[in-house]
Structure formats: C-alpha cells, structure tokens
C-alpha cells in the first residue's frame, strides 16, 4: 500500500485542534443532513473514529430489501395500488399485450407517483436509519443523472433510486456495470435506440464524459467505438435485456485495444485509465470535504482507490476521518444544497415537514433542486451556483417558513407539474414550539449552536440578542430562530 498523504492521515484531537461540538456537527452535516442536539452530543462522546464507523455501517441493500414497508406510499395515487410492490403483483402472469396496456394505464398518474416517490425519499433523508446512505444516494443521483422528464416511468425511477442506494458505498466497478443496465438510464440516455444499424452515442459519451473519466480523457473515435459495444443493451419496460440481433458483433478498437467488445469490456478498459480513479475521488472530496481539492491529495486518494479495487467504503472512511476533512478549509465552507437546507432545517428544528407540501413543487423548484428533476445530464452544478438574488430569498423564506413563519406563497409548478406532479394540498403553517427558558444571551447561544453550529461574529450575536429584547417569550424565541435561519452563516455547513 502506498503511503497516505499527510492530510489524508486520520485526524487526531489535539490542543490546537480539539474534538468539539463544531467538528461533531460538521461530520453529521457532511455525512448526512445535519444533526440534532442529541445526535451531535453522541458523536462528541464517541469521538471521530467510532462515529464514522457507525455512520458507514449500513447494508449495501436497497430500502425495500431492508424493510418491506419502506417503499413509496402510493395509496393516494389513483389506479396504482398501495406501493410499487403491489404494482409488480399486477404485472405477474400477464401477457406482453396486457402488460403493455397496464403500463399505459399507470402512465396516466405517473407524475403523481413520482411526486410520492420524491416525498418518500426526502422523508428517508430526514428520518431514515442511514443518513450517510441517503447522502450518497443523492450524490450518485446527481452523478449518474436520470431525470423523470419525458414522462419516464415512476416505477423505473424508483428502481433506479434503489440501485443507487444499493451501490452507494459498494464497489464502483460493479456500480458502473449495474447502472449501464438500468432501465431508466438506458431510457434517459437513449441506449434503448442504440442499434447496430443506427448507433446512438448518447450513453457511450456520457459514460466517459460524466460518469467515469471526465472530459478530455478520450477521443470522439473512442465514443463511436464504445457506442457500438453498447448496441443492443436495452430494456423491455421492466428489466434489462440484451437484444442479440441489435448488437454489433464486429471488432472495435477502443483506447488502443481491439476486440469484439461489449459494454462490460469497455467499462473494464475505462477502469484501467488512471483518470477514472482521479475523477471519482475528486468528486468525493468536493462532496464531503471542500471545493478545489489539492491535486496531490486527490492523486494520492485516487491511487488508494485503485489499489483497493475501487471499493468505495474504505475511501469514504479515509475522507471522513482525515485531517483534510476536519481542516478550516472544510468546516463551514460548503453552500448547502436546497435539499440539504430543507431536510437539515426540518431535522434541526424537529418540525414535521409533511405539512409543507408546497415545498417539492414550489420552493425546491425555485431554489433549483428537485430530486428526480436535475436540470440536465450534468446533474446539479452545486457550490455558488445555488445562490442568486432570487434563490437567496426563496432559501431564506423557506427556512423561515419551516421555523413557524409565513406560509410560502403557492407557486405555479409550470412544466415541472408534467413530470413531478402537482401538489395536492397547499402548504400549511408549520408547528414549531420552542422552549422559552433562559436569558436572551443563553437563548441566542443555544439556537446558534443548534442551527449554525459554529461560532458567529460577536456583532451578529449582539444583533440577535437585541432582537429578543428584554423578555424571553415564545414569540421572541420564534422570531430569533427565524432570524438565525435568515443569516448568510446558515447557508453554509
């Protein structure tokens, strides 16, 4: 084993860099969607090592294998049945013709079924047993992007979501092989139409440009040859199928190697390219630690990724326990994604977001991140692209709303409604009942520690104390919490 870069060596608490509330909260923000006071305290007590092990201890299995009841609740969707499991039962024993008819019927309420699936996923992020698994699933959803637009089947979108969950921390080579067979993906990137007679290059291109190598590490000829190798990889509406007669059995020359390659051969050759490991570890460093990671750190991590045969879990462990992860460059320097902002706020305030129905169709759309509706195949750009004058107001107002403030205005979901579904109910006021004990100073310090989780400027602290006034009342506490979630500091984690 090559030696790990000093910044990737495990962080050990010291007088200069003690293990504290800020670092414990940081771990829960990045390896999940933010911690409650109890969760932060537990991490603080357990220390970084034990906590990371616990966070990484989730089964490499989809939610519905873990628990039969943990599937999207479709009972409100007309003609669907209680869950996708029920839907599968409807298909059993049917002829091809009947299946086709049934699919057509389900398609009528597809948008609503997708909306239910998005709701299920977001609840899982907020209250599910494995926050890191969901955080990774969100990362991979933006990486192996597939959008529900073009009326892509809700059932296939849900199944892809489960594929992302199963492989979230598993073996990346197996992951790429599985995603290359995923029906929703084959549909989204037109591999369904990739036939020997008329090759379609879309999947072959994105496999290299976005999923494995990054731009500049392959040629246009590589794309053409790779597309030939993926001909005939299709789905029959439910499952992956290999259409033998559509597959090009000829010789292909790809990245300097020649043979009668199929898709798996192409993937194997791509994995021999050092650019692949670097591309993926770079993405993980940005997602969990910080933007623009130093090339020497990333090269070192990429080498470890390759040596470990592309197992993701050990790499995730290295990142989450590293000195780099707990450095000043990392802590508090990430702009929360809209999903992180919404899920995190509900967790940290302990409010029930089921009343906030308008969020998916309205606020998340205006903030620029609706699960299952990434803007394009590149996924969400993230970082400062989340922030504009328009989105900042929506972000503030959404957080204020979740803290018991003004109800979000109902927004016309426009074309989004076509594939995400229209919200059935208006947003209701959120019940947020904070305790009202302590002095104005202690109330401010308490909520800053819970919500921002890092020290703030003394000037800002004074403004918040001033805002409470002389008397701590339910009203004044609520108001100050709404102010805290409207601070630039709260946009970061």
């Amino acid at each position: 084993m090559a030696k790990l870069h000093p910044m990737l060596q495990p962080y050990t608490p010291s007088d200069d860099s003690p293990w504290n509330w800020e670092k414990a909260a940081h771990l829960l923000n990045r390896a999940g969607f933010g911690g409650t006071a109890e969760e932060i305290q537990r991490v603080l007590d357990d220390g970084p090592d034990k906590s990371v092990d616990r966070l990484l201890d989730f089964p490499d299995a989809p939610a519905d294998e873990e628990s039969e009841s943990d599937t999207p609740d479709l009972s409100d969707v007309e003609g669907y049945g209680k869950s996708f499991r029920d839907v599968a039962k409807k298909f059993a024993g049917k002829t091809e013709e009947e299946k086709k008819e049934l699919r057509k019927e389900l398609q009528r309420k597809n948008a609503e079924a997708i909306q239910a699936t998005v709701g299920w996923w977001m609840r899982r992020m907020a209250t599910g047993p494995y926050p890191l698994q969901e955080k990774l699933t969100l990362l991979w959803h933006g990486h192996f992007t597939t959008s529900a637009r073009d009326e892509r089947s809700a059932r296939l979108m849900w199944r892809q979501n489960e594929v992302l969950r199963r492989n979230a921390a598993g073996n990346f080579l197996q992951y790429v092989r599985q995603i290359s067979r995923d029906p929703a993906m084959l549909d989204y990137l037109n591999n369904q139409e990739n036939r020997k007679a008329h090759p379609n290059e879309n999947y072959a291109r994105e496999l290299m440009e976005l999923f494995t190598l990054g731009i500049g590490n392959y040629t246009e000829t590589d794309i053409k040859q790779s597309a030939r190798a993926f001909t005939g990889w299709a789905h029959d509406g439910d499952d992956f199928i290999y259409r033998k007669f559509d597959h090009d059995q000829g010789q292909k020359t790809f990245m300097g190697q020649t043979g009668n390659f199929d898709g798996d051969d192409i993937i194997a050759i791509i994995f021999q390219n050092p650019a692949m490991s670097r591309y993926i570890t770079g993405k993980l460093l940005i997602w969990f630690a910080y933007e623009n990671p130093e090339p020497d750190i990333n090269d070192n991590l990429a080498a470890a990724f390759k040596e470990g045969n592309w197992e993701l879990r050990p790499i995730l462990r290295t990142i989450l326990t590293s000195k780099a992860f707990y450095s000043d460059k990392a802590i508090g320097a990430q702009i929360k994604s809209p999903v992180q902002l919404v899920v995190g706020t509900t967790r940290m305030l302990g409010v029930d977001s089921t009343r906030a129905r308008g969020l998916v169709g309205g606020a998340l759309q205006q903030m620029g991140q609706v699960p299952f509706a990434p803007p394009n195949v590149k996924g969400w750009p993230g970082g400062r692209m989340w922030i504009s004058t328009s989105t900042l107001f929506v972000r503030y107002n959404t957080a204020v709303y979740l803290a018991g403030g003004a109800v979000l205005p109902q927004v016309d979901p426009g074309k989004l409604a076509k594939f995400i579904g229209r919200d059935k109910g208006r947003s209701q006021p959120v019940n947020f009942d904070p305790p009202t004990t302590g002095s104005p100073e202690s109330v401010v310090d308490h909520w800053v520690a819970l919500l921002i989780q890092r020290p703030i400027d003394d000037d800002k602290r004074k403004i918040l104390i001033d805002a409470i006034g002389d008397r701590v009342t339910e009203r004044s506490v609520k108001d100050v919490v709404q102010l805290i979630v409207s601070m630039p500091d709260y946009q970061l984690c």
Binding site: I335, K378, T389, S390, F393, R454, I463, S486, P488
Partner: protein, 442 residues
C-alpha cells in the same frame, strides 16, 4: 418624481465616492462603478440604462401553439380539408392578405398590424425538428440544437457577451424558475413569480437587514482589484485555492445586499400598478405578468430583456374552445401592454417577440385537437419593427411526416433582433452567422 431613478443610478450619481465610503455596497454595483471608471471600457459592452436603453420582451407560448389556427391560411383548400372540425373560415378570420388571416380573437394584434406595429414571420423552425416538448424547448431556448444538453440560453449568452459586471437586473423572467433562454454562463438574471414573492418574508426585517449587510472590510478587500478587460468581461476565474468559510460568507453577504436593493426597487415600481398603468389588463396570469413588466419598464429598471411565458397550448383534444380562449388572452394581454407603454411614453424602447417550441400537425386528430408538429409563425411587435409578412407560408401539401416544412430558421430571427435591435454581433452568441431578416426598420 423618483420613478425614473433606478437603483443603479442612485449609486452611479454618487459615483466612486460611494464605493469608497459605503460599507454596504452590493457586489454588482461596485463592479458597475468600476466599469464606468475604467478607461479601457470596451466598445462591445453595453451599459444597461433604466430610461433610454432598448428593451426586448420575449413571450414564450409553452406547449406548442397551433400556428395554423393563429395565422390561418383561410384561402387554402388543403387547410379546410385537413381541419374540417376545428378550422376557421374566411368569414371570421381577420384578414391580412388574400391568403392568410389572424385568428378571430386576435383583434388587438390586428390593430397593431394595421397601425404598422406588428410583423408576422411565417414558417419558422429548424432542421430535423424534434417533437418532444422538452427537447424542442431546449433547442429553441438554447439555440444550440447540436448540444444534447445545453447549459446556457441565447439571451443568457447575449448578457455574457455584452453586459459588464454581474448586475442581475439585465434580465428579468416572470416565473418560478429561470428559463434556459435567460441562463448565462456568467450572469444569472432575476426570476420571480410575482414581485411580492421577490422579498424577505420574515417579520423582523430591521434585524434581518443588519445581519445580512456586507461588512466594510470585505468590500475594502474587493475594491483594490484593478478593473481591466480581463477581470470584467471574462467569466469569474475559478479559484485554485479551496474556498474558505470567510470567502463564502463574503459572497453570501454581497448577494444578500444585491437581493435587498433590487427587491426594494422592484416592489416600489410595481406597487399599486393597477392605478398607474394605462392599459386595461385582464385578470389572467399572463396579463398580470405583462402588467408587472410594464411597471418595471416604466419604473426605469435597468433591464435589457424581460421574459414572460404563457402556458396551455398543448391542445391535443377539444382545441376550439381552449385555443380560442388562449388567443384572446394572448392578444388582449399584449394589446393592454402596448397601450400601457404608449401612454407612459415607453413604447419606442421596446420590441416584443413571441415563440413556441413547435406548431402542430396539419391534420386534425380524432379528438378535435392537433398533435405535436413543426414549423409555425412568430410575431414581432413594436414601433421599430417592419410591418408586414416575412417569409413564405409553408405548403400545406408538401409536408415532412405530416408537418409543415420550415422556411426560416429561428436563429435568423434571433440574429436579426440581436444585431438590428440589441445592436450586438450575433455570431458569438449563436455560433455562426445566420441571414438577417428585415424584422427591424432600417
């Protein structure tokens, strides 16, 4: 009267002293001030002006507007054969010439045409038309059909190429989400559903403002950056160093200031617009959007392009009633908008264009509607447009898979507006030089 004083102007009048003294100057304003102070100010950049600059208003008809029921080839037998149940006859259409007439409900359009303020471009489309709403909308709005996944729009690239600084006011889209057309690689224009939603909703606004103001030292550290063409006109360079919490906080404070200043302006301009405007607007959301745009034009917001959309054009079934209503809303809304602009002396500065992602199939379907098609007409409206009909009407018998063949590439229309109205070279924005049409008066 302060209604013509734009935010930017307030700061510009006080000039560089503001930059030196004000602790809370928003990010876009200091860049603008620097741009003005810069002797190297390139001729290719355009200072948006609240009171005299030219303005483009883009109207999107989302869902695929039926071109043949909008500009009706009433004298063509093939039209009546293809549309026995939903066609319009020669008696009801508002005749433009002896071949075409406007939909009977386009009365305001007809008056605009008669007074020389409306042009019709026939048979607009693009090669290998796509019949998916999403894909075809992406093609029209990105103007990059070769890109499977475009990340910027044609108006956005116009902002990137010609506007200095990062003032988000250069573009304003009415709607919940910024449309791809307006999305630049560098500039992120404003978008809001209603002006009232473009503001902070919390109760304690005074403390909120204090918590969000930009720190004086943060501005001071940004000010010494020497303005030069390289840092003003290129997309912000990617920092190689990791971004720290302090950098991020600085950025967020500045954006929050930008947001607050523009929110105040926009709310002030649009408050009580119903009384000030001279147009008799309807109550539908399209009329509302146009009324808001007119208020912002009147108020002197330094905006170059406004974007408004109207939905519901996907008329697969029962087209007659629905499409008739849509035509009335479109025509009445736009009619009221122009009356408003004229009354307030802003009409000379504005040019409007309409587009839809595709027209519809020539042959009506079995449900009294029409399915997704291809080429369709576009409208251009304004005092400076060349009145009349541009381009040949596509043949109703020589079809491409049942659809009209296009005669005019939509990028030619964009190029003509970019060059002859917005006065900017179109090639850098559209990737190649498209033929210029006589859309704008010479």
């Amino acid at each position: 009267m302060d209604k013509h004083v734009s935010t930017r102007r307030i700061f510009l009048q006080r000039g560089l002293t503001v930059l030196a003294a004000a602790p809370t100057i928003p990010a876009f304003l200091d860049q603008t001030v620097m741009a003005l102070a810069n002797p190297l100010d390139s001729h290719s950049t355009q200072q948006a002006s609240g009171t005299d600059g030219k303005i483009l208003v883009v109207v999107q008809l989302a869902g695929g507007n039926d071109g043949l029921s909008t500009v009706v080839p009433y004298a063509d037998d093939a039209y009546h054969r293809a549309r026995p149940a939903i066609g319009h006859d020669a008696k009801t259409v508002l005749k433009i010439n002896d071949y075409i007439g406007l939909h009977p409900n386009l009365t305001a359009f007809k008056s605009l045409y008669d007074s020389g303020h409306l042009g019709i471009i026939q048979g607009v489309g693009y090669p290998n038309p796509n019949r998916s709403h999403f894909r075809s909308t992406d093609i029209w709005t990105s103007a990059q059909p070769e890109k499977a996944q475009a990340s910027s729009g044609w108006v956005g690239r116009y902002f990137d190429n010609t506007c200095t600084g990062s003032d988000p006011h250069v573009g304003v889209a009415i709607g919940g989400q910024l449309p791809l057309a307006m999305q630049g690689e560098r500039i992120r224009p404003l978008s809001f559903e209603r002006p009232e939603s473009y503001k902070y909703n919390g109760k304690d606004v005074a403390h909120y403002l204090e918590l969000n103001k930009a720190e004086s030292e943060q501005v001071a550290s940004a000010a010494p950056v020497k303005p030069s063409p390289s840092n003003l006109y290129k997309p912000a360079q990617k920092k190689v160093e990791p971004i720290t919490e302090t950098d991020q906080l600085d950025f967020l404070h500045r954006t929050a200031m930008d947001a607050q200043v523009s929110s105040d302006e926009i709310l002030r301009m649009t408050r009580g617009t119903g009384h000030q405007s001279g147009g008799a607007y309807g109550r539908d959301s399209f009329a509302n959007s146009l009324q808001t745009v007119a208020a912002m034009i009147r108020g002197g917001l330094p905006t170059r392009v406004y974007y408004v959309s109207m939905g519901g054009f996907d008329t697969h079934a029962g087209e007659r009633g629905r499409h008739d209503t849509l035509m009335k809303q479109m025509s009445d809304g736009i009619g009221a908008f122009w009356t408003d602009l004229k009354k307030n002396g802003c009409d000379d500065r504005v040019l409007m264009m309409t587009f839809s992602e595709f027209g519809r199939r020539v042959q009506q379907n079995a449900s009294g509607g029409t399915d997704h098609g291809a080429a369709a007409p576009m409208f251009v409206i304004g005092n400076s447009i060349k009145q009349g009909v541009i381009g040949k009407h596509p043949s109703l018998t020589d079809l491409d898979q049942g659809d009209l063949k296009y005669n005019v590439d939509f990028r030619s229309v964009y190029a003509s507006i970019l060059q002859n109205w917005l006065e900017t070279p179109s090639k850098p924005i559209l990737g190649q030089q498209f033929p210029i049409l006589p859309v704008v008066k010479a």
